[in-house]
Amino acid sequence: MASAILRSSLRTALRGGSRPNPASKRSFSSGASAEEEAREAAKWEKITYAGIAGCTILAVVNLSKGHPHFDEPPPYPYLHIRNKEFPWGPDGLFEVKEHH
């Protein structure tokens, strides 16, 4: 292990120091510097907080409205289609409704 490290560092030195190897660049990336990335991170952090604030306000507004009520439609043949029973019983998974 130690000899391998020695060998590889010797090879690097012979090649002319730590020349940037084109293969070490991340593919699919813009190659921005760490400072630029930190600035971008700070910008998107702010956008995230703005999004969370907006969503929280909208959620409070929506939840305070209470849930909507709908009248029972006439029994048209294309509503509540049943060709055979579900494996788990007569009702669909989201069909159990509160009636009030």
Partner: protein, 265 residues
């Protein structure tokens, strides 16, 4: 081993997981058909198949993570494989969801006489798109901003901030799923109510399923970031999760505009 290797490719070891995954898929399919036709033992076979697939996923990905982190097999050139593979996977997902939205457009652009010649069909009440549907479009978009924050934090070498950003991503995703569950529970129609219910719940349900997959993917990335698996230079798993998450939040715009909004007025 590594010292004698004079190329940068990963020659994989023989693995039992492809065949175990195939057997799990076979049991799931046969069990699923048996269950849906109320055969005896169908539910048992289906559950066993799903457990088998979940186990295979766990151990297979565990092996990949070990090959990547511990054994260092994922060189620059090896990383290209999963990248291109994942891009192609997302392209196939776009086509899959496009088919579901197209089914909705096909049924709503020229509604048949059997449903009253109108859209939404006669007798179908719809949700107000300005309420939960709009909120549930804004939440994934904010979550997309959070995953971008996480990405830049990783590239800037701010490990802790990246974990916080992923916690924000996942939290917003869970809130989305909670609201979607509430919406389904309160919805005036079900999947068995006309072509409207069929297309609405197929499209929004599959989108919701993709949100759940993306949430799990982001949770795994958050744990791996916390454990220090992801570095500035090497975080293919995170990149795939971020691409997937952007795909899921952009795709949400299509059902919102065409199914909830245009299809609800």
């Amino acid at each position: 081993m590594i010292e004698s290797q004079r190329h940068s490719y990963h020659l994989v070891d023989p693995s039992p997981w492809p065949i175990s995954g195939s057997l799990g898929a076979l049991a799931t399919t046969v069990g699923g058909v048996m269950y849906m036709h109320s055969f005896q033992g169908g539910a048992t076979l289906l559950s066993l198949g799903l457990i088998f697939i979940l186990y295979t996923m766990f151990v297979w990905w565990r092996d990949v993570l070990r090959e990547s982190t511990l054994e260092g097999h994922h060189t620059k050139v090896v990383q290209l494989g999963p990248r291109y593979g994942f891009i192609l996977f997302i392209v196939s997902e776009v086509m899959f969801l496009f088919a579901l939205f197209r089914a909705s457009s096909h049924s709503s652009l020229a509604p048949t006489v059997e449903i009253g010649g109108i859209w939404p069909p006669k007798g179908i009440a719809v949700l107000d798109p300005r309420e939960i549907p709009f909120l549930n479009t804004l939440i994934p978009l904010s979550s997309g901003a959070a995953v971008t924050w996480a990405h830049h934090a990783i590239l800037a070498g701010k490990e802790k901030r990246a974990v916080y950003a992923l916690v924000a991503t996942v939290s917003l995703a869970l809130v989305f799923t909670a609201f979607q569950g509430m919406e389904y529970y309160q919805a005036p129609s079900t999947i068995s109510d006309s072509i409207y219910g069929s297309t609405f719940f197929l499209a929004t349900g599959f989108h919701g399923f993709h949100v759940i997959i993306g949430t799990l993917f982001s949770i795994i990335c958050g744990i791996r970031q916390y454990l220090g698996h992801l570095t500035k230079e090497h975080h293919v798993g995170f990149e795939a999760a971020a691409w997937y998450w952007h795909f899921v939040d952009v795709v949400r715009l299509f059902p919102f505009v065409s199914i909830y909004w245009w299809g609800g007025i």
